[in-house]
Each structure stands twice: as C-alpha cells, then as structure tokens.
Symmetry: C2
C-alpha cells in the first residue's frame, strides 16, 4: 500500500501567489473594465537585453547544425559560464573560487529547495519571519523543525541571533520581502555565530545586483571564514530578466563540511555534486550561453540599465508612499518595498482594498510569515508608466 | 551542528557515467591518436530539426520585445504545450487526459528522482535489475528500501511479479538498458497487480517514440485502470534530440490516490502540484515553444525521420553483432542494444577490451545492477558513419 509523505499535510493549503492570482482573477472576472496594475508577484516586465538575445539566437543556430550541436552538458554547468561567474561576480569582490565550487541551475528556487536533499532531517532550521515561503515549505515537506527570527519595526527588521542552538540558517539579502540589506558588520556576526556553533548558512543573494551602496556586501564570502560555513544562491532572474528563461547558480565551497550522525566531517561540495548528477541533467545550453552574454561589456551595460530602471521605480514608489504618509522600508539597494498597512488593516484587508479601490495588486505581508501581518509587499519590477499611475491612483484614493 | 543526510553514505562512490568518462579520458590522454567511437552514454548526435529551430528563434524574438516578453510561466507548464500533449500523444491512443494532469518539466531525470518528495520514506520500492541508476540512487538518498526483480536471459529479460508485497514499482519500457519492450498482456498483469495491492507504478516511457510495432503499448494508460495506479514520465530528449535543450513531462492522473499514515486516501495530483509550485519555477518558455513545434505536421515528419535514422542504426548494429556471433537483445522498438560479453568476460573487462582494441565505448552492464554483469549496453544514437565503422572494427577484431 503506497503512502504519501505525511509532511505535506502540515503545509498550509494555498501557496501564497496562487491565492493572490485567484483573488485577482475573481475580481477581474466580475469587473472586466478594471485596469489592474500588478505590483505583487516579483516578476520582471522589461524584455531580455540585445546581448542576451543575440547569444540565444547564436546558440539555437549551433544546435541546428550537426557539427556544433550540443547534447547533454555537464550536470554542474558549462565551464565557459562557471569561469565567467568566478571572474566577474567574485574576483572583483576579492573572493577566489574554484570552477568546481560553482553549480549552474535552472533558477535559485529549485536549489534553495533541493539543497535539503543532502542535509539530515533532524537539523533544526532557523529563518527570519517574514520570509520567502519556499524555504519554509521545502523544510516542512522534508519534515524539519523550523524556528523563526522575528523581523519587525521594533528591531528595524534586523533579526537577532537565535536564542537556542540551531543547525541551519536561511538568510536572504537584499531581503525578500522587506527590501532591507545587511551590513558587513551584521553579516560578520552571523558568520562568526555559524563558525562557533558548527551551523550552516544558506545565503540567498538573488537580488545582489540591486546593491548600489559601496558598504553593502554583495556576497557572504566577502566575510572571512564564510567558505567554511555558507552556501550562496544567486539567480539571473532579477539580474537579467531571466524569470522566463530559467538560469541561476549555487556556490558550494570545497572547504564546507557537515557531520555524519557518527560525527565524521564530510564535504558538502561532493554531496551536492552527487545529488545534482543523480537528480538533475544540467541547464539548457541555450540558457547558459544567454547567461554568459551578460558578462560581455555590452551585456553588462544593458543589464545595468534595466536594473537602474527598476531602482528608479523603487525610488519613485518609496518617495510617493512616504509623501502619502505610509511607513515604508526597503526600496534602496533592493527591488522590494515593505509597506505598513494604514489604519490597522490586516494584510489581506489592505490587499483587497487596494485591489478594489485603485486596482493595485500587492502581496499580503502575512503570506511571508506571522510577523508580516500588517504589511504589504510591493515590487519595483513594473513598467514605469504603471508604477507612476499606481502612485497617482493612491494619491487620489488617500 | 549541521548533519548531512546519512543515506548518501550508502551510495556507491562513482556514478556510472562519470566512471565511464574517466576511463575514456585516461585512455585518450595516453593514446591521443586513438579515434574513439562513443556508443556508451545515451546521448543523441543529430541536430535539432528545422521546425524546432524556427520555433526557438521566434520565441527568443518574443522575449526581446516588451509587448511579447514572458516572465514566470505556470509552474506546471504553458497550456499550449499541455494541450498539444493531450491531443497528439494521448488522444490517438484512446487515452483521455485533462490539461491539469500534465506537468511540463526540464527532463524526465529530474521528475523520476523528485517524485519521491511526495511519497513516504517507508514505502518498499521495487525495480528491475538491471535498471537506470537514477531510480535506485534517488531512493537510496531518500532512505527507502529497494528490492530488485532480476531480468536475465533465463526469463527473457521479462521480470516476474514481486514475490512480496511492495508499495512502489518502477517500470521502464522500452527498457533502458536492455532495449526490451513490454507486451500489452504483460503490462496489464502489472496494472492488475498494482490495483490489487494498492501499489503505485512509476512508468518511464522516455523511449516511447521508438516503438514501431503496432502491438507494443506506448503508454501505460492504454491499460484499463492504470490511471488509478500509475504515474507516467515522458521526455523529448530522445524523441526530438532535446538532451541539451531540457524538456519533458509527467502525467499524474486526478484519480490517482495514496494513503496517509492514518489510512486516508489523498490525491497525488494535488500533492505533486504543490511540490512543483514550491520547488520548481517552470520550464523556460523557449523550450516549451520548441517542444510544441514537434507536434506540427512538419515537426512531426522531421522528428520521425531522425528516429528512423537511429532505428536504422540499431538494426545495423543488431544484425552485425549477431552475424559476429554475439548474443544481443533490444534494438527493435528501442534505441538500446544489450550485448552479452564474449568468453565470460566481466562487463568492465569487456568495456576495457573494446576501448583498448577497436576503440569503442559502451556502457558496462553491471553499472545498471548486479544482473547486468556479463553485459554491455550499446546505443543507436551515434552517427551512421561511426556506427558502421564500429561494426567494421568489431568484425576485424573478432
């Protein structure tokens, strides 16, 4: 008799973004005339840049000719892309990585979930609240216990170190959903904590490209010792508009170890490689050539221009919302704004009010955790015109 | 203190194809003049067909313009592709599927491994020996016990029903590695067994496109009742040369249920959807348009021509090997040939002899399981000229 994984029964029934989509669809069906502006789900709106488009056309043409056709690629990605990452994303930060410490994937969501495959079920996991729901749900599915670190206005959305010993720590900076960043000093405190407690940090740096201030760290490996305690996830989704292309990467340093149940130390790089070779067949050649193109001088300029465009959106929204009297954090060095609901409304009440009034879709903060109650997340990935109109509608509505 | 998943320690150290690659590299480095013909790893050699190439260029161009740009797609795939699958792959077989029973993925390897996420750890798993190593390794990683069903010359490589009650059954037809097919009558026996024992069949039909004989079933759902006991995996890798493109799909029927630990029945379709929404972000839009193109009249013709090409290779190899006195099965309705080693050589001995003598790379049968000892797998995915030359070299060598 086949049994399901009972841990699935512990998940909340609706995945946050599915519920948001359902409410928007229902409203639109009843009000077909409503011009709804979507600032909710973190999806980009600007097209792929010319350098990426050209690279993809070239790669497709290579696949069309027997002499240049590529079948299965290496499970951990082509060397040309791993080399570009090591040279362009890390060397300028003073971080030296070996090629086999880089694992190309089909986006950070897969790996932030799948990384649990190589970790024991009995690890105690800790993560901030609010948090990207994928970390939480993936750990519930695996049967792990999770403790939360509250991030509220009271602590300026900066989590305290855990009050009890934990084994695995998820950190995401620039943060989704609060749009906050972490200082080098704060990050150093976490690395020191992990090293002292033999804990593992899973560091999600998917929004690293949005950092503009020189004193905000781009990678956890900028902190000495981090290679001995951290895995870093990065994504091209928000860096180069790859949400529909699917490519990202994970860094698993060679020095990084964890223990077997009998206390022996085992390298995680080899374990993750084994996991990927068994359950993943590599990312499409075409996507990898696309990703490589953003490291060319033209690609870099084009990608930067789009990021600047979104950061300007963030700035406009942040200023407008504050002018209207909203409490807002985020939106600097980050594409997310974390807006306190007015008049003590709950997250979903404010979501419904914005949908039905000015026809703006946000994401209810409570969907990211209990401490997100009373907040709404807005994203800067919209079109400029939509972004301006949304702010205008809010001004008229308030 | 972070703990690893100890089950990884139970895995054999070397992944089969990694060891094959290592031996070939070592030999080539010592004998740079050797012209090695690779008939080992199941990778295709013919380029993508024109219909697919055109569709990919079009999709890339859509991604280059704001008006037609696509970001995140549905986690379970675009409707255009799911509709094409339902109408072209299943309707002609008399199998009716709903669109939400189809889940697009980045290749069958991911899902045949990841499907375990929704299943309890205590299920007893059974699979044939020899077998595609991914099924075995993914279940070892998850901590499940696996029992094997021997497939040898004695039973004509057709497994008997398990002698003990099992919960999950992996079947792969046309088979990798033996190249055998399953008759409708045999498959019916398995479906009846699964229904009678409340077991789940995981049916890998990745090589379905190679079936030419009318009496060989293409899908397990051709058997009445199979929707209540089977998940089917399909892939475009060998159907359309997508090994470097990455696209496939999984069918999880709505009627399919399994039990919680308290005995309640739960639908697997909803569980798998939840798993995918949490740990997968959809397959690239460009890949999905590529897959759709093979269902157009031109695409269909072009893809068929390539499959015919490989099947002719298989026929040539089968005939030549038999003429040389080898015991061979497979190679009809399947791209694999299962060759008994001569003179009682072990699989790896024969592998080394073929590498060092006629410079042909096969895959040692023992890498697929204990019952594969004394066999070597050859694939028909090579270039015609290589395939003919390999047979010629064998004739000279014997």
């Amino acid at each position: 008799m086949t049994h399901i994984n009972d841990n699935f029964l512990r998940l909340s029934q609706n995945y946050l973004f599915t519920e948001v989509a359902r409410r928007v669809q229902t409203y639109q069906a009843r009000h077909p005339e409503a011009d709804i502006i979507r600032l909710g789900i973190g999806d980009v709106t600007q097209p792929l840049c010319p350098a990426v488009v050209e690279a993809m056309h070239r790669a497709v043409d290579e696949m069309a000719r027997k002499e240049t056709f590529r079948g299965y690629g290496p499970e951990h990605g082509y060397e040309f892309l791993r080399r570009a990452i090591v040279e362009h994303d890390y060397a300028p930060l003073g971080v030296r990585l070996e090629l086999d410490e880089v694992f190309i994937n089909d986006g950070a969501k897969s790996d932030t979930g799948n990384i649990g495959d190589i970790l024991g079920r009995d690890n105690l996991v800790c993560m901030t609240d609010p948090i990207y729901p994928v970390y939480m749900d993936a750990n519930i599915m695996a049967g792990r216990e999770v403790v939360s670190l509250p991030c509220t206005a009271d602590n300026d959305f900066v989590p305290d170190l855990p009050g009890q010993p934990v084994d695995i720590i998820y950190l995401c900076y620039p943060n989704n959903p609060t749009g906050t960043t972490i200082s080098r000093q704060e990050l150093t405190r976490w690395v020191e904590y992990a090293l002292a407690n033999d804990a593992l940090i899973l560091y999600d740096a998917a929004y690293e490209a949005y950092i503009r201030d020189a004193d905000v760290p781009h990678s956890i490996y900028e902190v000495p010792g981090a290679k001995r305690c951290a895995i870093e996830f990065r994504s091209y989704s928000k860096t180069a508009g790859f949400t529909g292309v699917r490519c990202g990467y994970t860094i698993v340093p060679r020095e990084l170890e964890a223990r077997t149940s009998t206390g022996e130390r085992v390298g995680l790089n080899a374990l993750w490689n084994r996991r990927q070779c068994t359950k993943f067949n590599g990312t499409s050649y075409i996507q990898q050539r696309a990703a490589e193109a953003i490291y060319s001088p033209e690609g870099r300029k084009q990608v930067e221009a789009t990021i600047d465009y979104y950061l300007t959106n963030a700035d406009i929204m942040r200023t407008s919302l504050r002018d209207l009297g909203f409490q807002v954090c985020g939106g600097r060095n980050a594409p997310y704004l974390w807006v306190q609901t007015p008049r003590g409304l709950s997250s979903w009440q404010f979501f419904d009010a914005l949908l039905q009034g000015p026809h703006i879709v946000g994401t209810p903060g409570v969907g990211f955790g209990r401490c997100g109650e009373g907040y709404l997340r807005l994203t800067a990935f919209g079109d400029r015109a939509d972004c301006l109109q949304a702010m205008q509608r809010l001004a008229l509505n308030s």
